[in-house]
Symmetry: C2
DNA sequence: CACTAACATGTAGCATGTTAGTCATGACAG
DNA sequence: CTGTCATGACTAACATGCTACATGTTAGTG
């Protein structure tokens, strides 16, 4: 194996864990910035070469991503980044609603000073990223804000689960972000959640979280429907999964 | 490579897919029947030898199981089957409640003849397994019944997700099954759900599903608390995650 | 006797060789 | 022109060799 590229080394130094984890991050990033196109066929061979590492960790990374549905592996053919169907999106958001709305309620009802300042801080970072149109940073702080609102008591599994669901819709956000909704608008949707959390108002937190997720989910479904040219309506699909 | 054991061959014939999948099944089964003890340290090396295959598919299987939390891999040491803490169990059931209760409601409200007969049939199999004290069959039909009640429109992800959550608590069921509750009792808990589903009564289905999952979850937490000798109460832990 | 350093052992993680399956291409028969 | 079949390129899946590391043990030091 020749000398790894500097970016690989950098990532290695930041995170001494494993090349598999590194590869997972790399694929996520590639999907986020469009380097990996949904539907296109790629091979473990080439990806390993590009990353300057061997096939084993790359393969392991892809298997784990396939487990979450972000990627599909085709035997003896290669792998594809999966573009979720409108129904997939609806299901994903129905799950997120089922998990995050009660979580937001509980979090607000039990909110304490320390997590409050963290949430506020995270929201400020989100605003900042929105102002400077930094989509990558925006995505990251959005994720961390949602994670904070779930983590309350230590819902590790729930956080991991929601993060993996976000993975599946990440490639949709890329094209959507800053078009239908500006980053500022999305950022503002979080404000009532944060305020309700700080006020310890569980019901308000739940309601505004529900509104936020519903708006996001429906928008992504609409986007996906336009892309597929299907005749189905957003309402119809949405009603199959969420109320 | 010597001759694989007959059980391995059997599993291979049933499922011609991949050795990785075979290994996942083998580990699940090993956990279910106590061949793999929680907390004990095992090695990929030996497991691969026992299965009569190479280390690669075994390693891949364990990585995927680690992803779901059923197993923990320790670098350069081995892997352990994870015994979930009382809090872990509470979180798992809070997730299952969030997903399965609304799913049961929707399923009942949209129930049609075809799925109805399938559900009824699955319930009969469950009863039968309970009568004959066949724990393995009982587990399987229990899982399939829950899956049917979720799958409604095609909630593939939700089904997979719930199945993976069940994985994490499987080793607890082993020791519990047929002690605190008899199989017949557990089977009977499903009856009101099935009846509400057949009657198209969403609210009743949701309520009885909630009752069933709550009873199961609390029982497992109690069991786990006794094992750890902790002073926490079931109510206290339960209230941190579920309502 | 306490305490440390060298070493033996066993492991995950990674690299790489091997096997067998899939598909595109094009020759060729009808 | 069309459908069939050989063939070659490419691939995932699997097997296996290698390396660095974590840990328990033992030998050496005060």
């Amino acid at each position: 194996m020749e000398s790894p590229t500097s970016s690989v080394l950098d990532a290695l130094n930041r995170n001494p864990s494993s090349l598999t984890d590194l590869t997972i991050s790399a694929v996520r990033q590639g999907v986020a910035n469009g380097a990996l196109q949904p539907g296109e066929l790629y091979s473990v061979y080439k990806l390993a070469e590009d990353l300057g590492i061997s096939r084993s960790p790359v393969r392991e990374a892809l298997l784990r991503l396939a487990e979450t549905g972000m990627v599909k592996i085709e035997r003896n053919r290669g792998f594809r980044v999966v573009l979720p169907s409108p129904r997939d999106i609806a299901e994903i958001f129905s799950i997120r609603l089922a998990l995050e709305v009660p979580a937001a309620r509980r979090a607000a009802n039990h909110s304490e000073p320390a997590p409050r300042s963290k949430v506020r801080q995270q929201y400020k970072s989100l605003e900042l990223a929105a102002e400077s149109q930094d989509i990558a940073a925006f995505e990251q702080h959005d994720q961390q804000l949602h994670a904070l609102l779930i983590a309350g008591q230590g819902g590790h599994r729930t956080v991991r689960l929601v993060n993996s669901l976000r993975d599946s819709t990440r490639m949709l956000g890329v094209s959507t972000m800053g078009q239908e909704r500006t980053l500022e608008e999305i950022s503002l949707e979080h404000l009532p959640i944060v305020e309700a959390f700080e006020a310890g108002d569980g019901e308000a937190a739940a309601a505004s979280m529900k509104e936020h997720l519903t708006a996001t989910g429906r928008l992504l479904i609409q986007k996906a429907l336009k892309a597929t040219g299907s005749g189905d309506s957003v309402d119809q699909i949405w009603s199959e999964f969420a109320d």
